[in-house]
Subunit: 172 residues, 2 copies
């Protein structure tokens, strides 16, 4: 891309370089949710319309965006900016779990929803966080595994069907 810009659009390349260096100077992590922001605390964390009693933990800002697009959640977020991955040298310190614990024990948060991915690393991260938070008296929940909306038994893999049976819900 850089090569293309330099050859075809030198003015554009200058503007892009300027925007990038500006971003690198001003982008920081929100004090509350740890996502990217240009201010100390981001708009979402400051919004009085959000439910401050629920904190949803996601791996990336993209996952936070997916949650917002699903219009299913009105609480707060904590963005790990990664996941536990011992083989890559990413431990609890690298994903700021100390900051998550401080955030979740502010006395206002009552429930932490673990919305990390259902990959091996996402599951390990969720497990590690629940071990940190449950002894501190915080209700910890995990988003559900199962069949997709509109899904048919014939079209899901065995592992997912097995989880859907294992995690079956009471019908009121």
């Amino acid at each position: 891309m850089a090569y293309h810009l330099l050859q075809r659009d030198q003015r554009g390349a200058e503007r892009l370089a300027h925007a990038l260096s500006h971003a690198l100077e001003t982008i920081r992590h929100c004090e509350k949710c740890n996502s990217f922001t240009e201010v100390e605390v981001c708009d979402l964390c400051l919004s009085p319309k959000r439910d401050a009693h629920v904190l949803c933990v996601v791996e990336t800002p993209a996952d936070m965006m997916m949650m917002e697009q699903a219009h299913c959640y009105r609480g707060m977020y904590f963005v790990l900016m990664g996941r536990l991955s011992p083989l890559d040298g990413i431990g609890p310190r690298e994903i700021h779990l100390d900051r998550l614990v401080r955030r979740a024990t502010d006395g206002i948060v009552q429930e932490v929803i673990l919305a990390t991915n259902f990959t091996v690393e996402g599951e390990a991260t969720a497990h590690y966080i629940s071990e940190l938070l449950t002894p501190r008296g915080i209700k910890v929940t995990r988003i559900a595994r199962g069949l997709p909306v509109g899904g048919e038994l014939e079209h899901v893999d065995s592992g997912t069907l097995a989880q859907a049976v294992l995690e079956r819900r009471n019908v009121a």
Copy 2:
């Protein structure tokens, strides 16, 4: 297929015709699970290794096979041989819901797991059955909706993510 057989393999066509008419004469519905069988009560329903306290309701014999292949379930089945579909004239009588109620209220079954598909018709069928069984004191459960095993937030549709949040589970 019939045309091909008649032209190329007349002996094969005769054998197939014989097998089919034999099947039509001998195949019947199992007295207990309503699936196809050649005897009064099928092998699975007679097996002492299955847990008679749990009854799983599926739409088709194929769905029952999916459940068996997932190795997640050791109870009994009831196969609806369809689903409620008012527009196609398929009501409670056509899918033998009276027989399901009799089967579920045998005094041994304690839980009925609704494993109909998460399609509109499968959901309506599950709802209708739960309305029939819960007043009769039977615990009714529904297989879970949510993210697939191995699934990532970025790769599921909004509806499924919303359900996964709505149906989140307590972490022990």
